[in-house]
């Protein structure tokens, strides 16, 4: 699992990247009450806002950590957005992206680097 400075995570299996928000991000947001996942088939570029996560107080953009085509969205979040709080780096995943350039992951942080990054915030 790799992390971005915007607190998304990405986990690569073959050329399919599962994407979500980090436990730190979920904790910082507070109670998640709504998630807007991307449409399947949509092409996203690294850094694009491709999903929205909403707490009671505010809506926040989620940025694509890698470029590619959305091949699956986590439909379960529509009825159970609280899954993002309960299991941010597991069942609370947002979407699966068929990556167009796996080398984009090279610039992302591993868990140790991300934890070190969080310590600087």
């Amino acid at each position: 699992m790799k992390f971005t400075k915007d607190h998304e995570w990405v986990s690569l299996d073959g050329d399919i990247a599962t994407v979500g928000i980090s436990a730190h991000a979920a904790e910082a947001l507070g109670d998640v009450v709504f998630v807007e996942t991307p449409d399947v088939g949509k092409t996203v570029a690294k850094g694009d806002s491709f999903a929205v996560v909403e707490s009671v107080k505010a809506a926040s953009d989620v940025y694509a950590p890698v470029s590619g085509e959305v091949v699956e969205a986590n439909g379960a979040l529509a009825d159970a957005p609280e899954t993002v709080n309960a299991s941010p780096e597991g069942e609370g995943w947002f979407a699966k992206i068929k990556v167009s350039d796996a080398s984009e992951l090279d610039g992302l942080m591993d868990k140790a680097a991300y934890d070190a990054f969080l310590a600087t915030l």
Binding site: F34, V56, K57, A59
Partner: protein, 371 residues
């Protein structure tokens, strides 16, 4: 804003000790949540929530001309207000716009006790001080904290400390020794629940706060839930639903325009306000139930069913008590009838919405049965 020096309330250390997440609000470092907004919201609806609202402005207006002078700023009749009663009112500018909304009451036999919003208090008090005439004097109560205890169990908690509080009805206010100190205490709040607002000396704030929290029915509640609770109760928030351009008629707050004051037409902006009362305003506050999609928040456009933009959302979000998405906004009067089908535009996407009655969630204010 990041280098803004935030003021603190006398309970700042207590919030931090409870692990609150702190944010800047109205110039103060305030707790937005403790355990979580949803849990705190639901706790208040089911038990009793304790809020630090010491950031709000408290003042006394005293002197034999106090009532008459105060009425020059607001459209309410404070002459007929009985002792030990408070009344909601509006600080109006000369254009009839709402500079702030406030509570003013007669807790003792010494003028008025007034509570105004945190973000407006400096401007409000400067305006009052500069324009009060005769012997009416404004005394800002800088050395007092303000707590609110709200929810169905608030009364049971409070009568343990002072049995006489059971005698208060909604909007009653008194000056009473509770917790060993003199308090302004009213049966009112900003959640739609029964409860009390308690002004205590700053030096006693932390002791009273901890004493109330020692009751297992009471939990601390942050500003996040305060906002979702007031939204469900259909209570507007100044700076969002109300501002210096919005009139009481537009804001659907005509209950704050006392009959005698309308007849005398002697409050700021009376010309515009009376004209709007007679002819209708150009926009009016409505409650919206958002029936699909994401919550509609402040700034989201409101469209008619054909997609024409007719207004804007001024507050909105999830309703934790009902699971619905709710909003307050302004639209032309032709679209304000209950049941009118509208749309709210969130991130470019129109979603179905319907005009519904206020409040969204039934209020449970306590009104003492007439003897």
């Amino acid at each position: 804003m990041s280098d803004e020096i935030l003021k603190t309330t006398p309970l700042n250390a207590a919030h931090r000790a409870l692990g609150a997440r702190m944010v800047g609000f109205g110039g103060y470092d305030m707790p937005v949540q403790y355990e979580g907004v949803l849990a705190e919201h639901k706790w208040t609806r089911e038990h009793a929530g304790l809020f630090d609202v010491s950031h709000m402005g408290q003042a006394k207006i005293t002197g034999k001309d106090a009532i008459e002078q105060f009425e020059r700023f607001v459209p309410g009749d404070y002459k007929i207000l009985k002792d030990h009663k408070q009344k909601y009112s509006l600080l109006l500018n000369d254009q009839g716009g709402i500079m702030d909304d406030l509570m003013a009451g007669k807790p003792d036999h010494n003028g008025l006790y007034v509570v105004v919003n945190a973000g407006n208090k400096d401007a409000d008090f400067a305006h009052l001080r500069a324009n009060l005439q005769g012997d009416a004097k404004l005394e800002v109560l800088e050395d007092r904290a303000l707590l609110a205890i709200q929810g169905p169990e608030a009364i049971d908690v409070m009568v343990q400390h002072e049995p006489a509080l059971a005698e208060l009805s909604f909007m009653d206010i008194t000056w009473l020794n509770v917790f060993g100190v003199n308090c302004y205490i009213s049966r009112s709040g900003y959640t739609g629940e029964d409860g009390f607002e308690i002004s205590v000396p700053a030096a006693d704030a932390e002791r009273v706060w901890n004493l109330l929290l020692s009751d297992e029915r009471v939990k601390p509640i942050g500003l996040g839930a305060r906002d979702s609770l007031r939204l469900e109760a259909g209570l507007p928030l100044h700076g969002h639903d109300l501002d210096a351009t919005v009139s009481p008629v537009e804001a659907d707050l005509t209950f704050a325009l006392s009959k005698s004051r309308k007849e005398a037409a002697n409050f700021p902006g009376a010309e515009r306000i009376l004209k709007e009362l007679a002819e209708g305003p150009s926009r009016k506050r409505v409650n919206l139930l958002v029936k699909e999609g994401a919550p509609a928040r402040e700034g989201a456009e409101i469209a008619d069913k054909d997609g024409n933009i007719i207004g804007v959302v001024t507050s909105g979000g999830p309703s934790p008590s009902t699971g619905n998405k709710i909003a307050i906004g302004f639209v032309p009067p032709a679209f304000t009838e209950i049941g009118t089908e509208l749309k709210v535009v969130v991130r470019g996407r129109p979603a179905a919405a319907e005009v519904v009655a206020s409040p969204f969630v039934p209020t449970r204010y306590y009104r003492k049965p007439k003897a």
